[in-house]
């Protein structure tokens, strides 16, 4: 434990800025993964335990696309589109068979795919650490804000995540598709009776969730190392985020992700070995106080 480092950081503006930005990018990546998880849970009532695998695939797709084409934009697109297709197939072929079964079967189908996907990545890309490298467009000197170092790529990352949050929030609340999705979350039988293809909505929501996780993976690829199994720690953290924020709530996912990001970045100063423990502790505290999470509604 190193409380002095933590209090020292709070006294210095430079350190505050650096730690806050690093907390924000952790939080924003987590948000992208967690919001997909929370959407899928909200509409399909399924906890997608294999969500981390989509994050992993997004990163690997982006890396391969970048190495082949050298275009950063194409890499992001491949990461997002590839995982969207994967999500659609996964939902239609496998998950749709276990709806309405008990939670145990759903968890197990996902668990099976966590194992399979990790091995597939090992076979295709190899078991060793890989890295995509920072795209040339972002190899420019970092910005200095109040003495703190902020790499420009971080700003892009934060911007993209905020844009996704805004677009998602707006479309769910205001557009026709958003209304149909919310209706399907509330009462799929009635929506189906009104002549709307709920299977399509389920598949679409799952693909959207997978796409967001894939986008997060693609965005993370230049700044993190890629390994098979990289999805798992992200999965656990995004679970914590959704549980803290409240299952099914997008705003909750955003707030939860930012809180976890900040806990991680500041916790690593004060409690370098117990950073993960701090997150679990925080989750326990929130759940004891509010079992449905900060923004969750009581599930009937």
């Amino acid at each position: 434990m190193d409380i002095d480092a933590l209090t020292g950081c709070f006294a210095s503006a430079a350190c505050l800025v650096t730690q806050t930005t690093s907390g924000l990018i952790i939080g924003m990546l987590l948000f992208l993964v967690a919001v997909g998880l929370t959407l899928i849970f909200g509409v399909l009532k399924v906890v997608n335990f294999s969500h981390g695998a989509f994050y992993m695939f997004g990163a690997y797709f982006a890396m391969t696309a970048y190495q082949l084409s050298g275009s950063f934009a194409l890499a992001m697109l491949c990461g997002a589109a590839g995982t969207a297709i994967l999500g659609l197939i996964f939902e239609r072929v496998f998950m749709s068979r276990v709806y309405g079964n008990d939670v145990l079967m759903q968890l197990l189908v996902c668990y099976a795919f966590v194992l399979i996907f990790d091995d597939v990545v090992k076979i295709v890309w190899g078991p060793e650490f890989r890295s995509m490298g920072m795209p040339t467009a972002f190899q420019i000197p970092p910005l200095f804000i109040a003495g703190g170092v902020v790499p420009p790529y971080y700003l892009l990352l934060i911007g993209v995540a905020l844009a996704v949050a805004a677009v998602l929030g707006f479309s769910l609340a205001r557009t026709r598709v958003g209304k149909v999705i919310r209706a399907a979350a509330h009462n799929p039988g009635m929506v189906s009776a009104l002549g709307i293809n709920t299977g399509l909505i389920y598949g679409g929501v799952f693909a959207l969730g997978g796409m967001l996780a894939g986008l997060a993976g693609a965005l993370a690829a230049p700044v993190r190392s890629l390994t098979p199994g990289m999805g798992f720690s992200v999965l656990i953290e995004s679970f914590i985020v959704t549980v803290i924020g409240g299952m099914g709530s997008i705003l909750g996912a955003l707030i939860g992700a930012l809180l976890i990001g900040l806990i991680r970045s500041f916790g690593s100063l004060g409690f370098p070995l117990f950073t993960e423990g701090l997150m679990y502790l925080f989750m326990v505290i929130v759940l004891v106080a509010r079992p449905t999470g900060l923004f969750g509604k009581e599930v009937a």
Partner: protein, 342 residues
């Protein structure tokens, strides 16, 4: 019929059930003794050390998985953090032996007391939560304990685990360093543990748990304290999981962070699915299946995940139930056919 008569009616029909369950308990005891006799005779029939190792691992994981079934199958509480008690058993026992040098039985009891205290504290928080939240909070506690083990290096050795061997002094004429003695002891613990859990499952309390699983609000209406019953079974099952951890600790003469990692819980759930949660011995069958599968697959291919994943999919999407569930249904269907036939 008045309420009083209804109550009497209930009393009148009660004795036959009691008689039946008492007879069943003798049968349980006989089966347990027979099973122990068979297991104990194995070392004299086969000289394979690998077979004995396999049975010891089955004992450790079998106790763990069966105790998880008390939660998942009997009470409907899907715990995704049951492995924390397995890890706690291994670390608790290992630490007590390394630090204090008390005799094995004392350390054993000490570990169980420690587990009970921790399980009561965690259970008190968790058991009031519903299905999926319960699963996640237990998972979070599991990871909390795992990160405590990793970060408290001076006590637990961090990611290296408890090294330097666990002292295993002789007690009551049993020498845990002797492979055969350790084997017999593990078998005894397994059989006693299973018998005790069977008693819990067949007791009135066990039937209360089934009722809570089927309809918690109705159970609460007839005056059952659901929270207390759930907490009780949470703590009881943690004790058996901890015993599994103790066997593992004695077997490998150490304790490693993987024992407290979430994958142990995942495997426990998987074992339960594999064997089936509707029969008492389902998890035991699942344990033998999974360990056999593990050993064969890792010997044949390095793509362990793909093979295991496909097997899980086969059970989850294909059969939709465990092997024992399947066997029981098949047997009952066949018997039904026979009875219908003239």
């Amino acid at each position: 019929m008045t309420e009083l008569q209804a109550e009497r009616g209930g009393d009148l029909s009660a004795p036959p059930i009691d008689v039946k369950s008492k007879r069943l308990r003798y049968i349980d005891l006989l089966i347990a003794i027979a099973a122990f006799a068979v297991l104990a005779s194995l070392p004299f029939l086969f000289s394979s050390k690998a077979l004995l190792d396999f049975v010891i691992r089955c004992a450790a994981f079998g106790l763990f998985a069966t105790s998880l079934n008390l939660l998942v199958g009997y009470t409907g509480m899907i715990s995704f953090g049951h492995g924390m008690f397995f890890g706690l058993g291994a670390y608790g026992f290992g630490l007590i032996m390394q630090r204090t040098g008390v005799p094995v039985p004392v350390a054993f009891l000490g570990t169980l007391v420690l587990t009970a205290v921790v399980a009561t504290a965690i259970g008190a928080i968790c058991v009031r939560l519903k299905e999926i939240y319960f699963a996640f909070v237990t998972l979070a506690f599991q990871m909390l304990i795992h990160s405590i083990i990793l970060s408290w290096v001076s006590l637990t050795g961090g990611d290296q685990g408890l090294r330097g061997g666990i002292p295993r002094p002789k007690f009551l004429g049993i020498d845990p360093t002797n492979h055969i003695h350790l084997y017999i002891m593990s078998c005894a613990l397994l059989v006693i543990g299973l018998l005790l859990m069977r008693q819990i499952a067949q007791s009135p309390f066990g039937y209360t748990l089934r009722m809570i699983r089927d309809n918690a609000s109705r159970a609460s209406f007839i005056g059952i304290d659901v929270w207390r019953a759930k907490l009780t079974i949470f703590v009881l099952s943690s004790l058996f999981a901890s015993t599994g951890g103790i066997i593992m600790c004695l077997f490998v003469s150490g304790a490693y962070p993987e024992f407290a990692y979430w994958t142990i819980s995942g495997e426990g759930i998987f074992i339960n699915l594999l064997g089936g949660v509707t029969t008492f011995l389902g998890p035991m069958v699942g344990t033998v299946l999974l360990l056999t599968l593990n050993d064969t697959v890792t010997r044949l291919t390095e793509h362990y995940g793909i093979v295991l994943g496909i097997v899980i999919l086969f059970f989850a999407i294909g059969l939709r139930k465990g092997l024992m569930d399947f066997a029981v249904e098949w047997y009952e269907a066949r018997r039904g056919d026979k009875e219908r036939a003239p």
